[in-house]
Amino acid sequence: MTDSSGRDVKMTCRHVWKVYGPEADGFFNNRNGDVPDPGALVHQVRENGHIGAACDVSFDVHVGEIFVIMGLSGSGKSTIVRCLSRLVEPTAGEVILDGEDLLKVSKEKLIDIRRHKMGMVFQNFGLLPHLSVLENVAFPLQVQGLDKAQRMARAMEMIELVGLSGRETSYPRQLSGGQQQRVGIARSLAVEPELWFLDEPFSALDPLIRRQMQDEFLRLQQLLHKTIVFITHDFLEALRLADRIAIMKDGQIVQIGTPAEVVMKPANDYVEEFTQDVPRVKVITAGDIMSAATGDADATVAVSATTTLERLMTRFGEGLSAIAVKNESGNIVGQVTPQAVLSALANEHDEENS
């Protein structure tokens, strides 16, 4: 499956609603959640004393990307990610995994999908207190019925991957928060899932450890190329990790875009609040502000599309008038000029004066 931009889609979330309350089902005529006026329905839900934890949420997750859902506490992030794995049964809508509607599959099939295609990491780790590190990591393999030798070997591999070798026989309560979350990560990866859900995995950790775990996470993704849905309430964490960000407020998605898009073109005041203190020179990249290549740029000093403005500026300091931009495979795809850099930053200036 591909979306309109031609990228491969792993999972699609289409008009998903989760309404909590005694008569939640009563708001919907059909199960696919495609209502004519979502805004009016959101209002109606609230008027009737129900909670719209997720309202008309739609997005695609591309194969191999890190899709971050960002929002303040209570905005419905956990609800949405649980709808994607059917830990929470959506009130209406469709969740499509590899072309199949997940909400229509039987309980048995769902268990099978969870056993082989999905992995999830939880905010408070969700480790089983009565099992050792090794047994925790091997647990998903155990419930599948894998034999002991095989699952232990696989679990050891995972433990090594997250850097916990030597702690296999420890128990969760003997580990620090960071270590516990490493166990959680190892466990979620043990079944080699294609889809990896992380619900605020680093929020319970100290800032220093959090930073370290983010680096670790990016390193793992470089190695594994999973399709990831990552939840956070920390905007900077979202910018740091995301390929694309979805920003949520009161159960609804406010904006979806790359980090630079969100920073440069916030959809409304609410998003703009978040972008205020963001150091743009560190977020916006050459790829975000490049124009079509005209040929007058010096191809020998081409930079990659992911170069940040911060680094670009030092290059312009050397006196270049335009720099070519190349993609991952080394082909020139465009160029940037000092004017483009300035206008991206001037944007910021406007805001500060206003």
């Binding site: 649980r82 794995s85 830990l87 048995e108 268990i111 099978d112 969870r114 056993r115 082989h116 999905m118 992995g119 999830m120 939880f122 905010q123 408070n124 780790f125 969700g126 480790l127 089983l128 207190p129 009565h130 099992l131 050792s132 647990f139 998903p140 155990q142 419930v143 599948q144 026989t169 128990y171 309560r173 959680g184 466990r187 979620s188 079944v191 859900f197």
Partner: protein, 707 residues
Amino acid sequence: MAVTTQDQAQSPLGGSVLKNVSPQLLAWLVLGAFAILCLVLRDEYKDLVKYPKELMLPIEVWLEAGMDWFTLHFKPVFRFISMVLAEPMKGLEWVLHQMPWPFTMLVVAIIAYAAKGWKLAAFCLGALSYMLIVGYWDESMSTLALVGISVPMSLLLGFSLGLMAFQFRWARRIVEPMLDVMQTVPTFAYLVPILILFGVGPVVGMVASAIYASPPVVRAVMLGLGRVPDNVIESGQMSGCNPLQLLFLVRIPAATHTIMVGVNQTIMAALSMVIIAAIIGGFADIGWEVLSTMRKAQTGQSLLAGLVIVLMAMMMDRISRGFTERTGEIHLARTGNFLQRHPYLSSLVGAIGVGLILSGLFPGFSDYPKEWVFYPAESLNDVVAWFTRSFFGITDAIKTYTLYFFMLPMKAGLERIARPGSWGFDMTTMAAAIYWGVVVAIGAGAVRFWGWRAGVVTGLLSILFFYGSTGTPWPIFVAAVSLIAYQVGGWRVALFSFLGMGFMLVTGAWPRAMLSFYLAATSVIICFVLGGALGIWAAQNDRVSAVLRPINDTLQTMPLFVFLIPVIMVFLVGDFSALLAIIMYSIVPAIRYTEHGLRHVDPVAIEAARMMGCTERQVLWRVKLPLAVPEIMLGLNQVVMFALAMLVIAALVGTKGLGQWVYDSLTNARFGQGVIAGGSMALMAMIADRIIQAWAIQKKKDLGLTT
């Protein structure tokens, strides 16, 4: 608001006094008038004190008939079950008696070591040595066999019920009220139907304990399973667990600790019940030994045997608690051969095997030589006799004063008790007038200082004190309790209380219920005052707290029966002994909850008070105590429950009332009487429970402590 000020402005003129009175107070004023009317008419209409016979229902007869029918058709089934159940018990008993004592000790020591380490193992060895040396080994092993069979039965029953209640809503709807009732039905009452169905013998004790001891596990399972954190459950689901795997691999293991806490309570309850079951006799266990020696007034013997029970309770409690504390901590090696993986289990099996083989090969080897028994009952008797004689003056004075100035008025009323010999005057019209004059003065003071509610309490207590629980007209009693219930908990609680008391009236249980009420109320008041004071002291002083805690723990784990031994020794059979036994047992929650409540008051409130310049005394009385009231109320609730439970046991030492009636129904196998007496007892407990709980909740809401 404007209306109120207007009213206040008018009231000095006397124009609208009634308008100013809250409807709650108004209700009490009406009740007061009604009470006075009843009291004035009391001598003319005897029915006001004695509920008329014509208005009673033959419920007892109906119950007997129902039971007769049931027995006629189902007795064989139960007798068969009884036969089946007897087998494993005989087996265990055989093993325990057959095992040479050194090996039994070894086995217990290994278990204790696994639970908590060397110290506990040494303690258990000491305790067992005592049983051996004093010569109570065989009796102890019989008790152990009973407990050893009833605990697994209890756990199985409790676990299945708890699991069902957790999984299915319909099961929860049945189990929850059942637990409620079981908690309040007195211990003996369990024995009556079981005795009728299963016949006399040790199986009755076993079945009764199994049923009686199961609620803690049911509760613990429901609570523990429900408390497993969401993300642990979700991680199990995301690991691909099917529902059964989720339950057995995730939920239950994650809830082990809570469940183990319930297991500990179940074990203690089973022991308590096994010992109580001794009163139906037929089994030479340690409970029987205590009871029979106590009845023969063989003080030394019953002390020695009682100590066995105490030690046994401590052993069981510490061992099971040790395992509870270590849940999730004992991790045996998962590799190696069977011996390496299960060192404890294999050494246990080994010890038992070797012991049995040896005893088979060398008959007589199992027995502890008779010549080595040291049974100091006679000398102990002498010591106790000397003690009672030396301190007779003091003990007798305490007893007499408490009886004459507090207990007897509460029971029979000051009007009948005040005689020149005791109170120094006769209850003449003059004296009565003075009494009521004093009451009015105190009442007025109370109203002035604490508001009209204090006045109501003074009024009610003074009526009770003057007429006694047996002399107060029942309409006053029923109306007052119903009104309290209504004002505290709404019409549901009021209706429940009203119907509950109605049951006692129409079944003819009322006079006995009043006797029980008097003893329970007296001891609850004393417990509450004394325990509250101790709790306050412990909350202010860490050293006191450290001293009280282990004492409380020990008192709490003792089988109820044990409390009777020392009090009877010193104070002989009677109401006062019962009072002391009840107090010893039920003072514990008063102390604990008061201390806990005071220690857990929001520190910010205390700091704020200190910053405003409150002295420590003011902090205690103005801030801590008011904020701790809801917690203290829960303690009061526990005190009431404990007191009623102990009240029934106290019937063994000759108190009158419902407890004695239950006991009586047991010895005569009278089902109907047992149900009515037990039911009245349970109703009393439930009415008190509902009212106090509602009160605590209301208080909590007033203080904004609800979350």
